[in-house]
């Protein structure tokens, strides 16, 4: 069938044009053997997983969600609880409630732990999503924000299981640059597939015109629920990878500030396109790292400036200026394929 061929080629173009440059740059960075550069690149790739996760729901549905970090947090703690070596658990969790004592008896390898935690996150996302996807606009924003606060309070205060403010320690530190790269390529492939195939196109239709979408038989709650569960699972993957990367974390790691940082990257890149999600992370992370370098050691003629908060302040100022100059984000919400096709004279085929 002709249409399925064009769907596959659109998928391959979109995923390929985004993933290949990232793979090349990551290889080049790995060749430098610069430990700090490789660390920064790994962090950026993990954040990219989370931002793409948010894009899958918010970008395609147009509905704000502040909840993605909550799912990253759930996955990070779940994976930690099942991958921490069994012999360490009694001393780390002396007050573990009886109904969770079975957690003590086993340890799973980290890749399996990440897989299980993503599956667990998907189940929670489904349960929470069934009521939450009925909300739109700011009510959806507040509903998901309230969910984030609830998860944060529980994780902070349920000390017996999460160690509360004394942070999770002893988590196997296994996430490498290659794991992060693999995850990014995987979620780019999934997100691209979702938005070029029927399931995702239906969700995009509800974003563009909810009444027209309903009139041709699209159920808004059902389409949103699909996008939501996919989005939260990807956020969970990012969270679990992050947990196994920093190895020591608490509920404070997955804060409202991180939530906004992720949303800001998505909006600065251009809300509504996968390309925007990728570009937003790269632009913001490169800027943030440049500023951080100035703060710690200076770059070229720029002397080192030692003032806590200055990096964040200048970063916020730059983000503000980008938003004022380009309210629709750097990509304007268009996909990379729409530029490539335009050059071929085939206008706006792949644009969403």
């Amino acid at each position: 069938m002709k249409s399925s061929v064009s769907t596959w080629s659109r998928w391959a173009w979109l995923a390929g044009l985004l993933a290949v440059p990232i793979i090349i740059v990551t290889f080049l960075i790995s060749l430098t053997n610069d430990v700090s550069l490789i660390q920064r690149c790994t962090t950026a790739l993990i954040l990219m997983v989370m931002v793409i996760g948010l894009h899958v729901f918010s970008g395609n549905s147009g509905v704000v969600s502040f909840g993605s970090v909550a799912f990253a947090m759930i996955a990070a703690f779940t994976s930690a609880l099942i991958t921490i070596p069994a012999e360490k658990k009694p001393s780390l969790f002396p007050d573990m409630p009886n109904f969770l004592n079975w957690l003590w008896s086993f340890t799973v390898p980290v890749p399996l732990g990440i897989l299980i935690s993503v599956a667990f996150t998907a189940v929670i996302a489904l349960l929470v999503g069934i009521p939450l996807v009925r909300l739109s606009g700011l009510a959806a924003g507040i509903g998901t924000l309230a969910f984030l606060v609830v998860v944060q309070v529980i994780v902070t205060k349920w000390k017996a299981v999460t160690r509360g403010e004394s942070t999770m320690v002893g988590v196997p530190k296994e996430t490498t640059l290659w794991w992060a790269l693999g995850a990014v390529v995987l979620v780019i492939a999934i997100a691209a597939l979702y938005q070029v195939t029927r399931r995702g196109r239906r969700l995009i239709a509800t974003r563009e015109d909810d009444k027209a979408a309903m009139s041709i038989g699209i159920s808004i709650p059902i389409e949103r629920l699909w996008g939501w569960v996919a989005s939260c699972s990807i956020a969970g993957l990012g969270g679990a990878l992050y947990g196994h990367y920093i190895a020591t974390f608490s509920a404070q790691t997955f804060s409202i500030a991180l939530t906004f940082f992720i949303i800001a990257m998505l909006v600065i890149g251009g809300l509504g396109s996968l390309t925007g999600a990728v570009v937003g992370v790269i632009v913001v992370q490169v800027l943030a790292e440049l500023l951080r370098t100035v703060e710690t050691q200076g770059i070229g003629p720029v002397p080192q400036i030692d003032a806590p908060g200055l990096t964040e302040m200048v970063l916020a100022l730059i983000l503000l200026l980008v938003l004022i100059a380009r309210p629709a984000g750097i990509t304007g919400g268009r996909e990379i394929t729409s530029w490539v096709r335009r050059r071929k004279g085939n206008v706006a085929q792949g644009a969403t």
């Binding site: 918010s58 704000v64 009521p131 939450l132 009925r134 909300l135 739109s136 606009g137 700011l138 009510a139 924003g141 507040i142 509903g143 924000l145 309230a146 969910f147 606060v149 609830v150 309070v153 529980i154 205060k157 409202i256 906004f260 949303i263 800001a264 909006v267 600065i268 809300l271 003032a307 806590p308 908060g309 200055l310 964040e312 302040m313 970063l315 916020a316 100022l317 983000l319 503000l320 938003l323 004022i324 309210p327 629709a328 984000g329």
Partner: protein, 290 residues
Amino acid sequence: MNPQYIVDAIGTGALYSLMTLGLALVFSVMGLMNFAYGQLVMIGGFSIILLRSQPWWLLILGTILVVVFFSLLMERLAFRPVRNATAMTMLVTSFALAQFLQQLARVAFGANPKPLEQFSELSVQYEFAGLIVSRQIILTLVTTILVLIGLALLLRKTNIGIQLRASTEDVGMAALVGIKSNRVIAAAFVISGTIAAIVAILFFATRTNVSWSSGDSIVLIAFVGAVIGGLGSMVGAALGGFLMGFVYTMLNALLPMELRVFADAFLYTLVIMVLLIRPGGLIAAKGVRV
């Protein structure tokens, strides 16, 4: 149940309803959820520290002027350029602005909280029928009522107030009949800034320090209060904010000891339930752009 809790809950509720009003007013005029609103209260806190040795009327006036100045400045420099962008872009703009102001305060005043000399005259307590009521609570209640009456009079009796209400109903239509959007929106930011300054005075009157992160919890409460109360409705906002404060204080008082640390989780679960039952808020305004 000890009725003393109710007195404290009403005091907190009144303060929260003021916080919510300032945020909701700007939202109803331009559809902007101003996340930088909490930073206005934080700026108010620092100006209180700087003006602490001045006579009380100068302290109040000075704080209001400083906060209103920043409020107008953020409207002119940050929000006017994105006024016609999507709600999401405006929200993220206000977040970036909030980050900027917060880090600016951190650079200017240092990372450690600045101690604030207590207002001992406000902690004087009175006893009515076995209930202990501090001057601070009385002051908060009286101020809240005065602000509500003042706001109602302003919105109903003055020219700018009527224009404001017209813009709340329909910005485009109001502009067509000759109402200058720039003036009306600036007016909303002046009122919102004044309320933020009053909130700062009442809020920091009971605190021992001001820090660059002081505004965060405030804006969260105001944000949630405005949405569950009913977007675009001033009465709804006041009610939503009041309920946030009232229910939170009561939860802290009534929950069993071992669950008390989870008070916030209970509060925000209630918020989700309210939204599911009434997505438009408790008192939903007509024709609000959500």
